[in-house]
């Protein structure tokens, strides 16, 4: 199970075991990580699973599709390394992934 570290806006880190091939979002919600809301359940409809991917890992998290790009461009505090975590699959390759959360999802 790939390990993913979620760092809250206040700096608190949570390292969880992700179910391989579920999304990074699901790793957060299944482990009660504060700071990810994921209101639409992974449908890319709400932009409340917003994370900043650590620059060292960006190249491994794949490319945004058009829907994600559109949604995330309007998210609070969007940055170049912003992603919707429901669109990133937690593959074995992402073991050790670090993401940060924004101040809020709403």
């Amino acid at each position: 199970m790939p390990k993913i570290t979620f760092i809250e806006y206040n700096g608190t880190a949570h390292t969880v075991d992700a179910d391989e091939n579920l999304s990074v979002m699901e790793a957060a919600v299944n482990n009660s990580v504060p700071g990810i809301d994921a209101d639409c359940g992974g449908a890319c409809a709400c932009a409340t699973c917003h994370v900043y991917v650590d620059p060292a890992w960006e190249h491994l998290t794949g490319e945004k599709n058009e829907s994600e790009a559109s949604m995330i461009s309007f998210a609070n505090g969007v940055e170049p390394n912003s992603r919707l975590s429901c669109q990133i699959r937690a593959t074995a390759e992402l073991d050790g992934l670090v993401v940060r959360m924004p101040a809020g999802q709403h």
């Binding site: 009660s32 209101d39 639409c40 359940g41 449908a43 709400c46 559109s70 461009s73 309007f74 998210a75």
Partner: protein, 413 residues
């Protein structure tokens, strides 16, 4: 011998649907450490409702992936589950809820998340086999069984349930006809351009749509539904019928316990009922809308989740979350509809983009040119920017809105 310690009564959540399940998870996410007991009348863990009319019917997701959280989550987070358990009464004075099996459960704080049930029609034939509704997983399984090539499905009600089911039914090769008593689909909830768009989209997929159609009965053969009778005398043969004509809040035990109800349990912006130790969330509630100066029942997943956050914040002493603009989404065929805001106090509509292109948005403006609501078809930018504009209460230039060379980024700035 010292007295054995009675565990302190903690939070009881009555209803383990989308709202109840979210409330339990949010309480833990917000740091609540006390006892949480989640009681639901279904035999399965809390699950996502939206896929029931879509991916679940089409066989695209597993039961496991439908769950809001996996089974181990409840163990790890120390959330006690009572499944297949019906709450029958609330004893407010004793701070206990009674279950159908005769037992009672004490609470310090109670969260009611009992949801709503499908509205039934007082029509001949309504109780025939094959007359279906779509509220829960068991309903979805029954409906799924009827969706096969060669089967004719009658859908009564041209709302979101009916239309999503129609799209799924077509994907599975069933023949579908929709009967809507108003003169357009989604009459209660959507603008005329949106209704027209969906009507055309469904017809293009082979769905027969009967508008202005009053269903006066269901015909049976051998105890099973065989046709739908309309007020003009037409009988449309079918092999199954889905009734999707609205939902009734399950407020009865709240009303019996003396809580304020008004077609839904009345709550404030913290999801509090008229009892200081009882909250209510989700489809069950009658709530105020901060941006619209009205009270409504908001039957949506975003509302269930927002109210779960209201209750969890109030219980854990966090500041109230910022008020959210209501929003909703629906997927039919390859059409993604996102709606933000509510079509109240609308003075004019502005269409941005060409519906024929399959991507467009309808903006509902009030008399001061402020956006009240945005319906976005396959265009997330208008949905997201629309939310910002509604929040800012910012008047817009209607002509610029209709002009695709003006970007939503510029308009929302």
């Amino acid at each position: 011998m010292p007295e054995p310690e009675t565990p302190a009564a903690g939070i009881v959540i009555a209803g383990a649907g989308h709202a109840g399940g979210a409330a339990a998870a949010t309480l833990r996410q917000f740091g609540y450490q006390g006892a949480i007991t989640l009681i639901g009348d279904e035999p399965i863990l809390p699950y996502h409702r939206p896929p029931l009319s879509k991916a679940w019917l089409k066989g695209e997701v597993t039961a496991e992936s439908l769950a809001l959280r996996p089974a181990r989550f409840y163990t790890q987070q120390n959330i006690t589950l009572h499944l297949s358990s019906t709450v029958t009464a609330i004893d407010r004075a004793a701070h206990r809820v009674a279950l159908a099996d005769g037992t009672t459960v004490p609470y310090a704080t109670l969260i009611l998340a009992l949801g709503a049930r499908a509205r039934r029609l007082a029509l001949p034939g309504f109780d025939l086999d094959g007359v279906l509704e779509l509220r829960n997983a068991a309903d979805a399984d029954r409906l799924k069984g009827a969706l096969r090539p060669g089967q004719r499905i009658a859908i009564v009600g041209g709302g979101y349930i009916g239309l999503e089911a129609a799209a799924s039914a077509r994907a599975l090769g069933a023949e579908v006809f929709v009967m809507e008593r108003e003169t357009r689909l989604l009459a209660r909830v959507a603008s005329p351009p949106l209704s027209a768009f969906f009507e055309a989209a469904h017809r293009a997929q082979g769905v027969a749509i009967h508008l202005g159609a009053q269903v006066i009965g269901l015909e049976g053969q051998g105890g099973h539904v065989a046709g739908v009778r309309l007020s003009d005398g037409t009988v449309l043969p079918c092999d199954a019928a889905l009734i999707g004509v609205g939902a009734i809040p399950n407020e009865e035990i709240a009303a019996a316990a003396g809580l304020a109800c008004a077609t839904g349990v009345v709550v404030d912006d913290q999801a509090r009922t008229s009892d200081p130790d009882i909250f209510a969330i989700g489809d069950l509630t009658n709530r105020s809308l901060p941006f619209y100066d009205r009270r409504v029942r908001l039957e949506s997943v975003p509302n269930a989740l927002e109210q779960a956050r209201h209750a969890a914040a109030a219980i854990t002493g966090r500041p109230a979350p910022a008020a959210e603009v209501p929003w909703f989404w629906s997927d039919q065929y390859d059409i993604r509809l996102q709606i933000v805001g509510m079509p109240f106090d609308v003075a004019k509509l502005v269409v941005r983009g060409d519906p024929a292109s399959g991507s467009f948005a309808v903006f509902h403006l009030d008399s001061a040119n402020r956006i009240q609501c945005v319906e976005a078809i396959n265009t997330p930018a208008e949905f997201m920017a629309g939310r910002q504009l509604i929040l800012k209460r910012k008047p817009v230039d209607a002509a610029a809105l209709a002009d695709l060379s003006c970007t939503m980024k510029d308009l929302a700035a």
